[in-house]
Structure formats: C-alpha cells, structure tokens
Symmetry: D2
Subunit: 162 residues, 4 copies
C-alpha cells in the first residue's frame, strides 16, 4: 500500500522572491525531491496548507489531525516547519492511535544548495516503513517520540525533553 | 553507540577529471554529505577501498566481510557501487549473523546536481537504526533482504528476485 | 595589471540563517565564485561593506567613490545590491572620470541554486576588460551607461531610462 | 539585433548515463543556462552537432565555418569542447572576416555542481558584444585571439602561444 504524504509548508518549501528579496511559498518541492531520490515507493501526496509553522493555528493543527484520521493509508509522512513541529506531533499523538506517522522538515529551504531536506526526506521514508505504530519527529538522522522532543532554539537542533 | 560506515567507492563517490574528462575516485564525499544532512547520529567512518563495483574482486568482498565481523558496532552502513551491490550483500548475509547491515549507493555521483545519494544516505541511516538484525540493500526509498534483490540492468532499478 | 573588485554586499552575498529563517550577510562568496569559474585574470578583492543596497547611505556611496579614485587599478568591478545599483553607479560616473568601472549584482543569492550571480560575474569580468573608460551597470547579459539605467521595480529587470 | 549561438557539444553539455555510468550527450543545456542567467539579450540558438571535440572532423569544422558565413547575425557565440577549440577557432578566423565570433566551453559539465560553464557563458555574451570584428576563444575570464591560443594539456588552462 502507498505511503501518504501531507504537506503543510515550512522551511522545506520556501522560495526566494526576486522582486522583494523575501522568502515565500509557491508550490511544494516534494514531488521534485522524490524524483531526485528516484523514489520507488508508491506515495499519495496532498498539500493541506503552505504556512510558516510559527503562524500555524490550533485550527490548522486540528485539520492535520483530521486528515491523519481519515487517511486510508496507515503510514503517513507530514512535512512541517521546524519551529512548532514538536507541538503538532504531540497533538497528533494524542488523537491518532493506530498509524505510523513521521513528521519531518528542513533547517534550510530545499532550493538552497545547502539544504538538509533531501536527507531528512530519505530518512522519513525509511522510518515510516519500519517504526511501530506511533507518532515521531524525524530530523537529521534521528527520530524522536512525539511526546519526548523539542527544538532547541539556541542550537537549532532537536533533542529529547529528558 | 555509534553507527559504523564503511566506504568502498561506487558511483556515490565519483568525480569528474577536468584534464581527461573521465570519472575517477578521489576522496569520499560521505563526511560532506552527513554534514549537509546536519546528521546528529554519531558515526565512525572508514574507507576500505575506492573501486568501481564492477572491478570488485572476491578478495575485496572478503575484506568487507571481515571488517563487518570485527567491527565493535552492531549497526553498519556500507556504501557500494550499484552493479554488484546485491552480490556483496549476499556474501555478507552468509557470513555475518548478528548485526544490522545496510548496503547503499547512488545511481548518479553525489557531485552531480541530480544525484540520489543524499536521499539514499538519509534512508540508510534510518533503516540501520530500525531494521532487525540482518543484511539489507537500501536504494531509492526501498529496502530489500540481501538474499532477495537484484539490480535490473535494463531499468537501473532494484527489485525482488521473486 | 589586475582587476580591482570592491564588494559592498547585496543579494549576491546573502545567506540563510538556519536559526531564525532570515537572510543575512556573513562572508562574501566572490572568491568561491571566481574559483568555480576557474578565473585566470589576476584580481585584487576588497570588501568595503556588506549591506542591503536599500540601506546604503550617501556616506557609504562616497566611500565607494573614494576607493574607486584611490585604486591603482583602472579596471574596477563593484558588486552591489540591485535596488540602488543605478544610483550608486550614477554618483561614481559623476566623480570618477578616467577608469572603466562595472557595477554588477544578482537577482537571487549565489547560495541559492537558481542564482544568476555566476553568469553576471562572468560578464562583468569581460565587460571591464573591453569597454572604454566610463561607468556601467552589467546585469543579465546587458550593459548600460551609468547615466541611462534604472531597475524596473515591477519586472525586476534593468532597462534604459529612454 | 540578436546574437547567434551555435552549439557543437563538448564538455558543456555532457550528462551522466545512470545505466552504464558513462558521459553522453542528450539535449543542450544552453537554453536552461541562459534562463538561469536571466539573460535579456535576444539570442538565436541552433545546434549544429553534439560531439566530443576530440572526435570533431575537418568536415564538421567546415560545416561550422559555413554556418558562421551564412548567419545573418554578425555576433556569434560557438560552444565547443575545449580539446580542439583552438583548432576550430583558427579555421574560422581564416575563413570568416567580417564578424565577431567567440568560441567558449567548459572544463566541467554544466550538470556537475562544480562547472565553470555559466561563468564562461556570461563572459562570452559580454565579449561578443564588445570586442571588435575577429575570432576569439573565451575561457575562464580571459579572451584570446584565435591565432594565438592553445590549451595546455598538462594544466588544462588556455594560454597564448607566445
């Protein structure tokens, strides 16, 4: 069966606006990244929103939860901004009990040469196939239980709460 | 504990020689790739050889097996050319019984913009942490048991034997 | 004799800050870009400032003029933000009469994969060697006299005033 | 009036064949490169051949000369492999007397991240607009008269004969 991928925006998908020098969202780069990885696993991709995770509302998070519940696939990857990734993952963990869900993102936009996005996407594809039912954050080679992870704002790295 | 990475060459690490227009091996790009992925998992990297896998000998393969056996780490990634990756994995599977070993590579050199290498490395890092003891080939989002995989020479894709 | 390159910042040299998601200046990428172009022309590089050209003051512009006047080289390239590039070029044209000076920049930061920076730098290196004494803006394959150029804010393209 | 660009192949346009690991020609990357450079100069592009310049025959060179003569544009860029670039330029210089013709290429394929191609193309676009009637080789920031240039096989760099 396919893996479901929900896109919510985040650094992953930011682009550079040549006219005003700001970063913005246009289309997701996920299909392009999976093609670059020559991905052979069937996937179903759906964009739920394209937002900076600092601007994600409770309503946005509930929408993500709802889609996780309704999805016929029981393996789900969610691309998400890193700043509130842990918060969204914790809410999903509370509400969705019978699926393997991996939340991932990037520290640097994919369109920058120096992005970690492709590495993280590769690991998310692997984690979602192999981890038991549960909700996880996968970043930079590591995976964390949704209830035991935070982003260290000073280092930019994800770490366990305790 | 750390993950052990053994480098054997393959497309992954090929560079372009400006003077004669041929592809060749210089240093491995693994450290650079792990840095790009902002990898947070401790790794121990060792280069065993730098060869095109079509030129890999039985002696080369036995050397790889020996290093797998002697490695104190019980989670091992091996970067390898794709043409004989399945053959090497099968030999390791026969000789090494108590470790999780993931063999990976790339269809296109990392230094080419269009390489699948970073995606594959990300997935190998995840598979080696989560798969049970055994030997696997990980390419393009999928993983295969070492005894049930071949590279389809016509499509360039890895597939099950049956 | 060498070509003098003065760096003043601009989109060219912006980087992505992983911690806060903003663009910022660190070091200039000029040396790296000249190396990538395998440049064989002797150059003397000096960073005068690292600013967004919207924040460039009259005092900053006078400093640039002064360096152009004092420079022993009579062929000078200036890297500059595109928003006020034409204004700086016009001031230099008024004050510096006996040198060939080419002002260039980029619509997209060099560190983004989609930057025009390397193309513009290559053309600036050529224009400065071949154009007669005068001050020019060189962008996207074209060159303009400093007194007859503006950036069209809507299209982002440089064009003649009349 | 437009600039004419003739494509003949060379390192510039080589791609990596995933199935056999060899470099080959598919389509030219010139249009993509001009788009990346956000080129604003009108160009007319025509592919004359797609060959490694070591395999270019006398008949191939005569075909290039003929196209230079018949071209209505009097500013012409030719992309060419570096190994025999000087030889082709010398033949054109003997046969074509009333146009500005710039022969350029790259040491590393454009599709490799480390290519000098975009820098060289930017400089060729500038040289062809500003140099007097004549035939030139433009590589790595420099330009050479067609009758006074060779590729140093040991360093890979272009240099004057004397």
């Amino acid at each position: 069966m396919s893996i479901r991928i929900f896109i919510t925006g985040g650094t992953f998908d930011k682009e550079y606006n040549e006219l005003n020098g700001e970063l913005f969202f246009k289309d997701s780069h996920l299909p392009e990244m999976l093609e670059l990885g020559r991905n052979l696993i069937p996937v179903e991709i759906r964009t739920l929103m394209m937002v900076d995770s600092l601007e994600m509302t409770q309503m946005d998070r509930e929408l993500i939860v709802e889609h996780c519940i309704k999805s016929p696939e029981d393996k789900i990857i969610i691309t998400h901004g890193t700043d509130t990734m842990a918060k969204t993952a914790a809410l999903i963990a509370k509400e969705v009990k019978n699926k393997t869900i991996v939340v991932t993102g990037a520290m640097v936009p994919y369109k920058f040469g120096s992005s970690d996005g492709l590495f993280n996407l590769g690991s998310a594809m692997a984690f979602v196939q192999t981890l038991p039912v549960g909700v996880y954050v996968a970043m930079n080679g590591r995976y964390f239980n949704a209830n035991n992870v935070r982003k260290n704002k000073e280092t930019g790295e994800f770490e366990e709460l305790k």
